[in-house]
Amino acid sequence: MPNIVQTNQLTKIIDGKELVKNVNIHVKKGEVYGFLGPNGAGKTTVMKMLTNLWKPTSGEVWLFGEKLTPASYEVLKRMGSIIEFPCFYDHMSGKDNLQLHSEYMGYHTPGCVEDALEMLGLADASEKQVKSYSLGMKQRLGIARAILCKPELLILDEPTNGLDPAGMKQIRDLFRMLCSEYGITIIISSHMLSGVESIADTIGVINHGNMMKEISMKEISEMNTAYIELAVENTKKAAYVLADKLELSNFKAIDEKCIRIYDACIDTKDISKALAMNEVEINSISKKAESLEDYFLKLTGEGVRK
C-alpha cells in the first residue's frame, strides 16, 4: 500500500457550483503533505471529503487502501482532524473536552489527555473553561485533540492560524516530531507557503478547485534553487571554462547567450575572474533567486488569470 490517502477524480458540486473538480491527491505513508492554495481554492472542501463529513459528487477517496463510503466509521478511529476552526464545548474545561473526545473515540490510554496538553503547552490552562481561551489556545487545544488518540493520519486545516511566530515554529517542530518518531502521516493545508515549506515532504497546489501541481519538495528545490545567470558572447567557450577551470558540473546553457549556474558554493567574483582570464566576454552576471513563494504564486497566479 504505497499511498495512505488517494483520491481519484474527486469532484464536489454544491448548488451547481463546482467547488473542486477532478482532484487527484497521492499521499505516501509517513510523509508530511502540504496542501496549498489561496483562500477559497477548495482545500477545506477536499479535507471535508477526506474525513467523510462531505460526500463527493463524483470520484472516490481511498484511505489506508480502502474506499471511503458513507458507512465507513472504523477508519475514523485511525484519523485525527481539524476542519475549519476547531470547536469545543465552551462551558467545559480544556481537559474535560479532551476526555470527552477520548470517550467518543473509544480510546482509553491513561494519561493520554495530560500528555497531549503537555505537548501543546496547555497544562496550566487545562482546568479553565474553553470560553476563556484565546484564539491561539483554542487552536492548540484543537491540535491536542487531533493527536490525542495517536492517529495514523492527521488531517489539519490551517492548523497554525491564530498562532504567533514562536507558536508556529513550536507546532511545526511538533508535527515533524510526530511524523519522524511515531510515523504519523500528516496532511496540512495552508494558504501560505511559509506555513508548510519547512516541514512538508510533498506539496499539492490547488486553485479554483483544480489541482495545479503535486510535487515533492526535493524536486522543487532542485528546480528552483538560486542560480547565477551568466550572459556571454560565446557559451561554448564559457562552458568549457566553467567545467574545466572552475570544475563546476551543475550548470546549464539556457540559450545561445545565457548560462545558468546552479552550484551554490561559487562566487560571482570567481566566475568573472576565471572567464576574464580565459578571454570570454561577459555581458552580464547576476545572482537570481526564484523562491518557493514565487513558484507558488506563479502556479496560483496563472490560475487567477485564467
Binding site: A71, L76, E84, F85, C87, H91, E103, Y104, M105
Partner: protein, 234 residues
C-alpha cells in the same frame, strides 16, 4: 447507547436544565395550588370562571404541565441538536467512529428521557399537592382524580409520553429550517393546535388522537435521523 446518552447529558450541562426543571415544577405547583385554593381563576363573586367542561382540576393541571414541558423539551432539543449543527460541534461529533444515526438518536433519547421523567415527577408533585390541600381546604375546581387508583398512574404516564414525544415534530421543523427559534416556535404552534384536545382528552373516551399524535411524532423522529449518513453538513 447508554454511555452516549450520559455523555450527551454531561457535555450539554444537564445540571443547568435540572435547575430549570425544578424551578418550572415549583412554579407550576404554586400556580395550580393558587388556582385550586386561592381562587385566582374565580370571578369576583366567587364562582369559578372556567370554560365549559374545564371545571375539574385535572384539566388545568394537564394543560399547564403539558404546555410548559412541551416548550421545555423543544428548548432542550434545540440546544442539544439544532444549535449543535449551527455551532459546528456536530462536525466534531460526526468525525467519531460512531454511526451518525446513533449519535442523533442518543441526543434525542437523552432529551426525551430527561423530560419524560421531569414531566411525570412534576405532575405527581402537583397532584399530590392538590390532594393534600383538599384535605383541609375547599377547592374551586372539582377534584376529579384518585391517587390511589392504578389507572390514574397509567393515564399520567401515557399522557406524558405523548406530550414529550410531540416535541420531535418541532425538532424536525427546526432541523429543516436550521434554526433553534423555529424549533421553539413550532412547539408553541403545536400547543395552540392541540391544547383543546390535550386539555380534556381522556384515555377512555379518546384513544385515537394521542395514538395518531405519537405515531406522527415518531415518524418525524425517524425522518430527522434517517438520512444523516449521506447528507452533507453545511
Amino acid at each position: 447507547m447508554i454511555k452516549l446518552i450520559k455523555l450527551e447529558w454531561k457535555k450539554n450541562n444537564i445540571a443547568k436544565y435540572m435547575r430549570g426543571a425544578v424551578i418550572l415544577a415549583a412554579f407550576l405547583c404554586l400556580f395550580v395550588f393558587a388556582l385550586a385554593f386561592l381562587g385566582i381563576a374565580n370571578d369576583p363573586d366567587g364562582t369559578l370562571d372556567a370554560a365549559e367542561g374545564m371545571g375539574t382540576i385535572s384539566a388545568p393541571i394537564e394543560l399547564f404541565t403539558s404546555m410548559s414541558f412541551l416548550i421545555f423539551t423543544s428548548v432542550m432539543l434545540a440546544s442539544f441538536i439544532v444549535s449543535a449543527y449551527k455551532n459546528k460541534t456536530m462536525n466534531l461529533m460526526f468525525s467519531y467512529p460512531i454511526k451518525r444515526q446513533k449519535i442523533l438518536a442518543s441526543q434525542m433519547i437523552a432529551v426525551w428521557l430527561f423530560n419524560f421523567a421531569a414531566l411525570v415527577v412534576t405532575k405527581l408533585l402537583i397532584y399530590a399537592c392538590v390532594s393534600i390541600g383538599s384535605l383541609s381546604m375547599e377547592s374551586s375546581f372539582a377534584v376529579d382524580f384518585n391517587m390511589g387508583s392504578l389507572s390514574f398512574y397509567i393515564q399520567l404516564l401515557l399522557k406524558s409520553f405523548v406530550i414529550v414525544s410531540m416535541s420531535f415534530i418541532a425538532l424536525f421543523i427546526g432541523m429543516i429550517m436550521k434554526s433553534s427559534k423555529a424549533t421553539i416556535i413550532a412547539s408553541f404552534i403545536m400547543i395552540f393546535l392541540t391544547q383543546a384536545n390535550i386539555g380534556d382528552f381522556s384515555l377512555a373516551g379518546n384513544l385515537i388522537f394521542p395514538a395518531i399524535l405519537t405515531v406522527v411524532s415518531f415518524t418525524f423522529a425517524v425522518l430527522s435521523v434517517f438520512n444523516a449518513e449521506t447528507r452533507d453538513l453545511l
